[in-house]
Symmetry: C2
Subunit: 340 residues, 2 copies
DNA sequence: TTGAAAGCGCTAACAT
DNA sequence: ATGTTAGCGCTTTCAA
């Protein structure tokens, strides 16, 4: 591969001049500039980024660290962040199965300018270690108490609360809550919102109405399917709140199989921004989560931090929005008027 | 950040010794080894990968280049490749919206040891340019005529053929073909298989039964939904062949809305390995595509190429498999026996 | 077994 | 405006 020396030789100038022309730093005659550019063209030369990085201490590489092996858990966050980052001239490294300590190591290895941590498990000690590396990073989801780190989070509590309140306002009281992954903080937040809404309306909390999953499965539809299928009919749930649209779709399939009419006999609300929810029949009422915006914003904050070198900590909370579609209706007993 | 010098100073040895201990090359006393390791521990030292790369000429970074901006088009390929690569000790850079020439540039910049090109547009000239960089790469999908490049492809032609034949064997003759993205080679392959099967069975090809899409939409469900919804009823299609499971799901939704019974009045086959297909109701008959295996295999071939330095070209074609589920049945006219 | 030193390809400070 | 040169942090050859 051609190096800067080759270009310098071919153009009949020094390597410093080549560097200057290519980086548009300093000044030179149009003539030398032409010579250099032509030599570059002819040799098909490109600056060796490894060497450049070693010299400048900047790599223009940003890591996106995911806590699980699932690239697909939050595809929209990753996608939108990637697009912003790439447009801003950064290369993006994706790290699966990462922990805070993995991130510390990565930063010490010096190949990254910054990190986007997606839904990383919260851990005071290792977070402190990460901060000590003085690296730039932004937390996307996975809440922290610390006020001194960049964080773009989503108000899942509010989402769970709004969804539950909506169901309650439609007369539902036995609301089954099914979560896709009890490990992840966001489902816990949704559950908190759910429980809060129940409590606020004097509805007793029922253990039988909580369905959890270890979250090992890629097959979210099966989680939803099973959560309904295995459900003891005696619990008499008239509504379902699922922490994920795909789980909800699985539940809808199970309902169809069990000849339970949705929404006439069973109301369902999901979570997410899955485009498919619009086109399923009946279309799924769902809490819209601004994942794309979260990824974008996180990327922008990180880039500004790196580029401008500002150390201003940004903390943003994005709101969810209830998308009213066709899987929620009035409680059957209200419809039939058979209440005392 | 601590450098090798700091470690050497703290351990009271030379930097060469530190390097040797850390890379397990050469030999040394247990004593010096201990000293070095302790210094490393105390300083929290990690080898600077940028410097190492510059010296060795190896980066241990592999790029996964995608032709579109859609990380999700082929999530399973990416996921499985990423897992293999990471397990083998490589960092993985994801490049969106890449072309062959983007890849040439990337390789010249020297930050990558190799490339996985997913569904890259075929282009003789730029492929030649890429080969000239002498970089290691594997093509995943996106067929080429050249016999001298690594390629892991999927027999989509065979898949389209098998699916169509299956429908024909069930008495269907008016089979609507809807593709999600006319730009991508794989839909063309499926279409070829479809047309071949029709021809083989003396069924005339009908322009009205071909539905294409520019593929701009993220919303595959809407493509499927619209392909059926806009369909002139006079075409009288009794079966649908969709190049993607999500399109097929959209079509199923449209059918449900139009009160067309699936499969009684309309048979549907999709393509993919979407887990959700199993759990939709009726569960979707679909051509299983071994995307995960494709990603794994591609990654393994690339890693072997890099590690062992072998230049043995590997070309693999993976077969699809028809998953018989519940959206295909006999042609209605056959069922009702109203044929002449 | 260990250390000294060259050099990977580049940028930037300094000199001309 | 351009050239010379030090040095980024590391590996590796060579010498001791």
């Amino acid at each position: 591969m051609a190096t800067i020396k080759d270009v310098a030789a071919k153009a009949g100038v020094s390597i410093a001049t080549v560097s200057r022309v290519l980086n548009r730093t300093g000044s030179c005659t149009t003539e030398t500039k032409e010579k250099v550019l032509q030599a570059v063209e002819e040799l098909g030369y490109r600056i060796n980024l490894t060497a450049k990085s070693l010299k400048t201490g900047q790599t223009s590489v940003i890591g996106i660290a995911l806590s699980g092996p699932y690239l697909l858990e939050t595809p929209m966050i990753i996608r939108s962040a990637l697009i912003v980052l790439q447009r801003q001239g950064f290369a993006v490294e994706v790290i699966l199965d990462a922990s805070m300590d993995t991130c510390v190591t990565l930063m010490k290895e010096g190949r990254l300018d910054g990190l986007l941590l997606i839904d990383m498990q919260r851990d005071e000690a290792s977070l402190k270690r990460l901060i000590k590396t003085e690296c730039r990073f932004v937390l996307l989801g996975g809440d922290t108490d610390r006020e001194d780190v960049n964080l773009v989070q989503i108000d899942f509590f509010g989402g769970g609360y709004a969804a539950t309140k909506h169901l309650i306002s439609r007369g539902h009281r036995e609301i089954l809550f099914a979560e896709d992954n009890t490990q992840l903080p966001y489902t816990q937040e949704i559950k908190r919102g759910y429980l809060f809404a129940l409590d606020e309306n004097g509805i007793p909390y029922s253990e039988a109405l909580l369905k959890g999953d270890s979250g090992d499965s890629l097959n979210k539809e099966s989680i939803g399917y099973n959560s309904l299928n295995r459900l003891d009919i005696k619990t008499n749930a008239s509504a379902l709140l699922m922490t994920n649209d795909r789980i909800a779709q699985g539940a809808l399939s199970a309902a169809r199989e069990m000849r339970i009419k949705v929404p006439a006999e069973l109301s369902v609300i999901g979570f997410g921004d899955h485009s498919q929810s619009d086109f399923s029949r009946p279309s799924l009422t769902s809490v819209k989560v601004p994942y794309a915006q979260q990824g974008e914003l996180g990327a922008e904050i990180l880039v500004n931090n790196i580029r401008r070198g500002d150390s201003i900590v940004k903390r943003v909370t994005l709101q969810t929005q209830l998308a009213l579609r066709h899987t929620v209706t009035l409680h059957p007993r209200k419809v039939h008027g058979d209440r005392p």
